[in-house]
């Protein structure tokens, strides 16, 4: 990760902590700190040190105090327009940085400590608190709506700590610290969570929840339907709010699973009969109620859903169960359960893995349903006499087509989320994908797949560029693990050959760059008929003119058919 930090205040300590915080997951990270206070100078000069650094992400780190300085420097009658001037700067800088292909991260600013007229201050548009609020609103509604722009919500951080704690103006006066020096660590952590998520690291993809005293108050097996509490007032409200929280996560594409030590019928009863329940059985991709160890059950879920254990969170009120899972499956995130169920949502809020960097997509909304369809396919596979028989019976139809504006966001999201089937782990963003689509020498394609059970949606992204030697380089290839073993790789390879031909290329070249997680695709290119090139063991090539299509059971759709 190459991170540039452009601040309007002292940021040495912040940068040191960022450097240290990036190291565990990105050891060769470099943090660039601008030597100038003048962010404009750094961003607008194409020859500045910033651009020779070539940042992947640029953090524009404004402070409430610097906005305050601008506010007081303005003529009293011009103070109502201060936020607009800051917004204009941010818009200009953001546009330039996005153009250069860097992600941009902006602060949402904490409310200032001073309020001249008590509560009424907020009702006066040209007061400082109103200006800061208007600035935040403009960042959210006018700037962060662009792909590639993210926010670091320092406003929420400061508010949750408390403004009196947050500010220590002595250190602003002395050395331009935007907050109490001991809170710079929390400041850095907030940004690190955004950076980690934007690099697709440590994302939570599945929440496994216990039932008794977790999803509801009481023990269904002992207390019965009338004895448990969910909804209404008191503790039942707390558990119901946890269910609402989980439902929001599900709508964002996070898979929910039940893992309970119970008789299956008893465990399902509240979902069917209790009026206070928010979640239904159909909200869960796996519903496991048995007497086996929870680690065993979670391991089975991971295999069934094809999701890595390190993307699992396990929520359980029992210290015994939490310890059992931690000991057996150290990759699983097992947060401490709060002393009071009213705080379950606060506990989940604190998990950095829930940080999102893309807006919920249609794909996210359907994700649970897709896993459920997958179960039907697995069922069919078990009943089929042979693999070929199964694949034929699926009646698969596939499409490989250039990424258009409709697919852009989902394509970027798949690139962020894919760790296992990911050949080069380049984490291209929307701007880079768009640029490839528009270039004559490059391409960015997606592959979508459907079968008799339903639509898998967009399940692979491929990017490439043609070099001067009539070689088409595959610079990015990611695929969802949900469609492994269907012959999609072969199907894509055949389409790639067509793409290479249409771009007048003689060769297709691919590369495998190993990470901790992508061993699955180590032998992919050889399996698809590519051969090693020269002395680089990671590179493979295929002669386009002699390449015969590989057999698949996927029928190719034209883009027109796909919309029918």
């Amino acid at each position: 990760m190459r991170l540039a930090v452009l601040s309007d205040h002292a940021d040495q300590k912040l940068c040191t902590l960022l450097q240290r915080g990036l190291a565990p997951w990105s050891p060769d990270s470099v943090v660039f700190r601008s030597e100038f206070d003048d962010i404009s100078l750094e961003v607008l000069d194409p020859d500045s040190a910033l651009y020779s650094f070539k940042p992947e992400a640029t953090y524009i780190n404004l402070s409430t105090q610097a906005v305050r300085d601008r506010f007081y420097a303005a003529e009293p009658e011009a103070r109502g327009g201060v936020y607009q001037a800051v917004v204009e700067d941010l818009k200009q800088w953001t546009a330039v940085l996005l153009e250069k292909g860097a992600k941009v991260i902006l602060n949402l600013l904490p409310a200032p400590a001073e309020r001249y007229f008590g509560s009424f201050t907020s009702c006066i548009p040209d007061s400082l608190p109103s200006q800061v609020r208007a600035l935040n609103a403009a960042i959210i509604h006018e700037i962060a709506v662009q792909e590639g722009v993210l926010v670091n919500d320092i406003n929420h951080l400061a508010a949750s700590i408390g403004l009196r704690q947050w500010y220590d103006e002595r250190f602003w006066c002395h050395s331009k610290y935007p907050c109490r020096p001991s809170l710079v660590g929390a400041y850095a952590d907030s940004l690190l969570a955004v950076l980690r998520a934007s690099n697709g690291r440590g994302l939570v993809k599945c929440v496994v929840t216990d039932l008794d005293n977790t999803l509801w108050h009481g023990i269904i097996g002992d207390d019965g339907l009338e004895g448990i509490e969910v909804g209404g007032f008191g503790v039942g409200e707390a558990h119901q709010r946890y269910q609402h929280y989980l439902r929001v996560l599900k709508q964002r594409g996070i898979i929910l699973c039940v893992c309970s030590k119970n008789e299956d019928a008893a465990a399902r009863l509240p979902f069917q009969k209790h009026s206070g329940m928010v979640l239904r059985e159909s909200d869960f991709a796996c519903f496991t109620a048995n007497w086996r160890s929870k680690s065993e059950n979670i391991r089975a879920m991971s295999a069934e859903l094809n999701l890595g254990l390190d993307s699992f969170v396990f929520v359980d009120d029992s210290p015994f169960e939490r310890e059992e899972v931690r000991a057996a499956l150290p990759e699983v995130i097992v947060p401490e359960f709060p002393n009071d169920p009213a705080d379950i949502c606060v506990m989940l809020d604190g998990l950095p893995g829930l940080e999102a960097v893309t807006r919920p997509s249609a794909e996210d909304l359907r994700r649970t349903a897709m896993y459920q369809l997958e179960k039907q396919r697995t069922q069919m596979e078990k009943q089929s006499t042979s693999r070929e028989d199964f694949l034929k019976g699926l009646d698969m139809k596939g499409l490989v087509a250039p990424v258009g504006s409709v697919e852009l966001s989902r394509a970027a999201q798949l690139i962020q989320r894919s760790n296992q089937f990911n050949l080069r782990t380049q984490r291209l963003g929307t701007e880079q994908i768009r640029a490839l689509c528009e270039s004559r020498e490059g391409f960015a394609c997606f592959c979508s797949l459907r079968d008799r059970f339903g639509d898998h949606g967009l399940i692979a992204v491929l990017c490439g560029e043609k070099d001067g030697n009539s070689t088409l380089w595959i610079t990015e290839w990611v695929m969802s693990c949900r469609v492994l073993g269907r012959g999609v790789e072969e199907f894509i390879r055949n389409q790639l050959v067509e793409t290479a031909r249409s771009m007048n290329c003689l060769r297709l070249c691919g590369e495998y760059l190993p990470t901790e997680k992508n061993a699955m695709v180590k032998g992919l290119y050889e399996r698809l008929g590519f051969s090693k090139t020269g002395d680089d063991p990671a590179r493979f090539e295929l002669q386009v003119d002699t390449a015969m299509p590989l057999p698949t059971f996927i029928q190719h759709l034209s883009p027109q058919d796909s919309h029918s």
Binding site: A10, K13, F171, S175, P181
Partner: protein, 81 residues
């Protein structure tokens, strides 16, 4: 608390701030003479001293501290108040 008591407590604070290094805190010692005593660690030091002795420096005091002797004098005055 005598000046020497304060000096000895400050030595602990310096050791923690400067990664376990032992620094002799003579009155004349200034930041320039200590490797790693820069504007960032200076603030860290001030915060650690405030925590250790449970008082707050004033903004003017933070700016005025020129050497260890003055630091000890300020702490001495604060502890008496």
């Amino acid at each position: 608390m005598t000046r020497e008591d304060i000096r000895s407590s400050l030595k602990d604070v310096f050791r923690e701030t400067f990664d376990g290094r032992e620094i002799e805190l003579a009155d004349e010692l200034t930041a320039k003479q200590v490797d790693g005593w820069n504007s960032v660690t200076h603030i860290d030091l001030i915060c650690a001293i405030e925590e250790k002795f449970s008082f707050a420096f004033s903004t003017a005091e933070i700016a005025r501290l020129q050497n260890v002797g003055e630091l000890i004098s300020v702490v001495e005055k604060k502890m008496k108040a």
